[in-house]
């Protein structure tokens, strides 16, 4: 396993948001985390990436190393990148500067970083010199996914990549994700079950802070599963 999470508990004060969650992502695999709002999906993503404290007995191993409660920047530099919900670009910097910022900690040349993102999403080229705050939701999302790929991470955690996007743009996101499939491992929080079924190798369904179901997205399990009950 590239990512192995066991007994993950997360507390907000006295309230427990995640109960003993177990998740695994194999190298090259695309795994999805589905569930209703408030089920604990984002909390799990934040705990894995170091932004939210994991409980004392939680075990989070990435690439064979225990990363539980490490600093987010250390986790990012170790090759695990988190793409936040809400399409958080730095609005006061240009698109080009947003890309340069992502290249800086990995000593990737700014030019090479821009070229890499233009390769993944060619339409971004004409927006390079505008403030990132001026991008549409879909453009922001594709910039964020591209930006997270700088420095060749081993695993991307992507939180709700299609949330609030128009159908045409969702298709663009789908194309980019399917283009990346196999090259980089991914754990994606997603509510669009059509996209999940088309892309997933493995699916985790959550309810009230617990992982309720894990399935390989093979043809057999697809026909037998009822993911809708978790949404």
């Amino acid at each position: 396993m590239l990512l192995e999470v066991e007994h993950l508990d997360v507390f907000y004060g006295k309230a427990q948001a995640v109960h003993s969650a177990a998740i695994g992502v194999k190298p090259g695999e695309m795994a999805f985390l589905v569930g209703r709002n408030g089920a604990g999906k984002t909390t799990i993503m934040r705990a894995i990436s170091g932004f939210t404290r994991a409980g004392a007995d939680s075990r989070i191993h990435f690439n064979g190393v225990d990363i539980a409660n490490h600093r987010p920047e250390e986790i990012a530099r170790s090759g695990l990148r988190y793409v936040f919900q809400d399409k958080r670009v730095i609005t006061k910097l240009t698109v080009r500067e947003n890309i340069h910022l992502a290249a800086y900690p990995f000593h990737v040349s700014p030019k090479a970083a821009v070229a890499k993102i233009c390769d993944i999403y060619p339409r971004i080229e004409k927006f390079l010199n505008i403030k990132a705050g001026g991008l549409s939701g879909g453009q922001r999302q594709l910039l964020l996914i591209g930006r997270a790929l700088i420095g060749n991470p081993k695993l991307l955690l992507i939180d709700e990549p299609t949330e609030g996007l128009a159908a045409g743009i969702i298709e663009d996101v789908f194309k980019v994700l399917s283009q990346l499939k196999g090259d980089v491992s991914m754990l994606i929080v997603e509510q669009n079950l059509d996209l999940v079924r088309r892309l997933a190798d493995r699916i985790y369904a959550m309810k009230e802070g617990r992982i309720m179901m894990e399935l390989d997205n093979s043809a057999d399990s697809r026909s037998g599963s009822n993911l809708e009950q978790f949404l």
Partner: protein
């Protein structure tokens, strides 16, 4: 009227120099740093102590500005760093305690009496029939030069862009693998050195005394709120605007000059309530 405008610009320049560091600490770390006033005061005292020994004003200014860096570093390392993520009330209490402790140390070394300094340039020039001190014009030029340098630093350097990004969304910057805290520490130390420079430049206009920083901090607080938290351009505009308001109001009715500043602060808060 020319002298009123010149005094307003001088005051604006001083307010800008002290407020910019305060604004960044507020914007990046969400900390209301009362110790900033202490650093401002220490700058004035170091100038007072070093000028007779060095004898060359620019060198004494440099000594006072750089001399506070170890003190700022200690305050950041042992106080400020423990306040990240804490409530604003707690940051005020903790940094106010540092201010009070530092104040007592200053009184212990130099006493409580105001110490007079002379105009380091001691020359005047005539502009539209009004005689103006060259020193005050120099303060305005230094403030403008600093504003340009800060703009270049933020817009052209990677460290500056990291600070801009950190001001907007610290989590995103950390998620990119950047240890944003290191840059915030750097900003804190630069801001503290600028506070000391503010004290150094203000000392010859007023007197050096233990509470000189407290009064200016309140004005600086108004500048930072009116200009927008962490908004370096807004801080520049607000500093010169409020400096001018103080000067013009003070010309007609002295006691009202600071009241006018805080009235503008109140209106600003009514229009744009801050969320910290």
């Amino acid at each position: 009227m020319i002298s009123v405008i010149a005094y307003g610009l001088t005051l604006g320049g001083i307010l800008y120099i002290i407020s910019i560091g305060f604004s960044f600490t507020f914007g990046t770390m969400k900390i209301v740093n009362y110790a900033h006033a202490l650093i401002f005061t220490i700058g004035g005292y170091i100038l007072y102590a070093t000028l007779p020994r060095i004898g060359f004003y620019p060198a004494a200014v440099l000594a006072a500005t750089l001399g506070v860096i170890p003190i700022a570093f200690i305050i950041e390392r042992f106080v400020i760093r423990n306040l990240y993520g804490e409530s604003v009330d707690l940051t005020i209490i903790a940094t106010y305690a540092v201010f009070l402790i530092g104040l007592d140390v200053l009184k212990w070394i130099w006493g409580s009496n105001p110490l007079q300094m002379s105009d380091p340039i001691n020359k005047t020039f005539t502009f539209l029939g009004t005689e103006l001190p060259v020193y005050r014009m120099a303060v305005i030029v230094i403030a403008l030069a600093l504003a340009i340098l800060i703009e270049i630093f933020l817009q052209r350097s990677m460290a500056g862009k990291i600070v801009i990004a950190g001001l907007e969304d610290k989590e995103t910057v950390r998620g990119l693998g950047i240890s944003v805290q290191r840059y915030f520490t750097m900003v804190f130390i630069i801001g503290s050195a600028l506070a000391a420079l503010g004290g150094v430049l203000y000392a010859p206009i007023t007197v050096v005394e233990p509470y000189m920083g407290f009064q200016i901090l309140m004005l600086s607080f108004a500048v930072v709120i009116v200009g927008g938290l962490g908004n370096w351009r807004g801080t520049f505009v607000a500093a010169f605007f409020l400096g001018m308001v103080m000067s013009v109001t003070g010309r007609w009715w002295g006691p009202a000059s600071e009241v006018a500043v805080f009235a503008i602060l109140a209106v600003s808060l009514l229009i744009h309530p801050i969320d910290i």
